[in-house]
């Protein structure tokens, strides 16, 4: 044996690989259901696909990205986080590894769903419209990443500040529901602004990107404030 020096490295890749096994249910669910929905909508009428599919994507992206949070919740329960803290890893580093994992899982869900949905849509003879492109680029993709980041970050705070309850099988509880709140709220705002007429593309892009930016900013603040908001002992196993 030799003596060690240098802090612990990022565990992002290890966490991602573990999420493919421990969190596979969520990833498979996110990919399969969003793809089936896309294929079904693309097979129906072109208009309903363009109007509905991009709006629903963030929900499946959030669900599909839960694998990272499942790892975090299990690791806290099993004392792995305690071990990581003892080896010099900071809570922020731990959170960032899980956040990166969630964003990667989101990218996987989006890639699969968009490739299949849009592929079938085009194969059915529909042409790609500006509306579809706008909804995907200005809303679905940025909001999916922002919502997944929000769900992962809020979920880690939530998991750290709560104790597992008997009878609760899921270690992440209601986090997926919390995670889709920003997307739902944004849709409500867009619908509200659009009352009495169509929202112009410019205003839509501004509102959609602004909302995603706001959610991302919230995530950033939560991560930067972690030392103030979360005492280290909250990451210890309650066992």
């Amino acid at each position: 044996m030799t003596t060690v020096a240098g802090g612990p490295p990022s565990l992002y890749s290890a966490t991602l690989r573990r999420s493919f096994t421990t969190g596979r249910f969520f990833l498979v669910y996110g990919c399969v259901v969003s793809s089936l929905l896309g294929v079904a909508l693309a097979g129906a009428r072109g208009g309903s696909f363009s109007a509905s599919f991009p709006l629903l994507l963030p929900i499946f992206a959030v669900v599909g990205s839960m694998g990272g949070l499942v790892i975090f919740a299990n690791d806290r329960l099993k004392g792995v986080l305690e071990y990581l803290l003892a080896y010099g890893m900071t809570p922020r580093r731990i959170f960032l590894d899980v956040l990166q994992t969630a964003l990667t899982l989101t990218a996987i869900v989006l890639s699969v769903a968009i490739a299949l949905g849009v592929g079938v849509f085009v194969a059915r003879g529909h042409s790609l419209t500006l509306e579809l492109g706008l909804l995907l680029a200005a809303y679905a993709i940025p909001m999916s990443f922002a919502s997944s980041a929000f769900a992962a970050t809020v979920g880690m705070y939530w998991t750290s500040l709560s104790s597992p309850r008997s009878g609760m099988n899921s270690p992440i509880g209601l986090v997926p529901l919390v995670g889709i709140l920003p997307a739902v709220a944004t849709l409500a705002v867009i619908a509200g602004l659009g009352i009495g007429g169509q929202l112009s593309p410019d205003r839509f892009v501004a509102v959609a990107l602004g909302a995603a930016g706001l959610v991302a900013l919230t995530v950033g603040i939560l991560l930067l404030s972690i030392d103030r908001l979360l005492r280290r002992e909250k990451l210890l196993s309650p066992a």
Binding site: N74, D75, E82, S237
Partner: protein, 298 residues
């Protein structure tokens, strides 16, 4: 898991002063509520230091504070001359929690490779600890399939991946069968020849067997820090077993086959035995009935 593990372990210089732990007026706890209060001590000699105390006294909190998991509310912890929390200090400490700390969804080898990634250890180190802890047959088992004792062995293998100068072990022999617990005690004694080992336990006989020093905590404060062999019971009681009933021992209280006799210290034992034999008692066995460490829990 651990695809980027090195094939060999790079040598590294931890820097800092000579290995040691120094607590200066350490106060630490949870959510602002102190568990340890104004704790001060200094450890420099490589040895096993047994951390004892009743439930809730602060043993686990002490080990967590020394490992850098908990930050001090007041005071300071210095590891080998460096303040804990600054670069290099934590890298000299190995910590074994009372919970296993084994990641879910991995096989035993993958779990060790996961630890090796954190420790920047080499693939060959994983092979070495698998051999040393006799985990070969289990290496392809998922950790969720292991018994509590087997999980503990995996957890112990982790702290052998890389060499550090200080080992903080929180109840390492809990959940282990006597054979494995004995092997672990031998391992700890071997480690303590060159390393500082702090070892918390509820097993007083085990503590007495392997500890050179005792560090007793009561209500978050240091109740005692001294050499194990200098500890003496407030009440020194011996048990005497005879080959046949003897008048010389009549009237003494009994515990099982033993007649109990309280003395002021072990130096009185030879004289007592000579006296009993002179009075016809055929003595088969004499043993100390209490453990001086029990007094620390009184």
């Amino acid at each position: 898991m651990g695809a980027r593990l090195r094939d060999d372990t790079p040598a590294a210089d931890p820097g800092g002063g000579p290995p040691g732990i120094e607590c200066r007026s350490l106060t630490a706890g949870y959510a602002g509520t102190p568990v340890l209060r104004d704790l001060s001590f200094r450890i420099e000699e490589p040895a096993v230091y047994v951390v004892l105390g009743p439930n809730g006294a602060g043993k686990t909190t002490l080990l967590r504070a020394l490992s850098g998991i908990l930050l001090p509310d007041a005071g300071e912890v210095r590891i080998s001359g460096r303040t804990l929390g600054r670069s290099g200090a934590q890298e000299q400490v190995h910590y074994l929690s009372h919970v296993d700390g084994i990641p879910d969804g991995l096989r035993v080898r993958e779990a060790l490779e996961y630890y090796a990634r954190v420790e920047r250890a080499a693939r060959s180190d994983v092979d070495r600890v698998i051999d040393r802890l006799q985990l070969g047959e289990l290496s392809d088992h998922y950790t969720s399939q292991l018994s509590a004792g087997q999980r503990k062995r995996v957890s112990i293998a982790r702290i052998l991946l890389r060499e550090r100068s200080i080992y903080l072990l929180d109840e390492p022999t809990s959940n282990l069968d006597p054979k494995v617990a004995g092997e672990l005690r031998a391992l700890i004694l071997e480690l303590s020849r060159e390393k500082i080992v702090l070892y918390s336990s509820h097993n007083l006989f085990e503590a007495r067997e392997i500890g050179r020093y005792v560090l007793a905590i009561r209500s978050g404060q240091l109740a005692l820090f001294g050499r194990m062999d200098e500890l003496r019971s407030a009440h020194f009681v011996i048990g005497i077993r005879t080959l046949e009933p003897s008048e010389a021992l009549a009237g003494l209280p009994r515990q099982g086959d033993y007649y109990l006799r309280e003395l002021s210290g072990p130096e009185e034992v030879p004289g007592l035995l000579r006296d009993l034999e002179a009075r016809g008692a055929k003595i088969r066995e004499v043993r100390e009935m209490g453990n001086p460490l029990e007094d620390l829990f009184a």
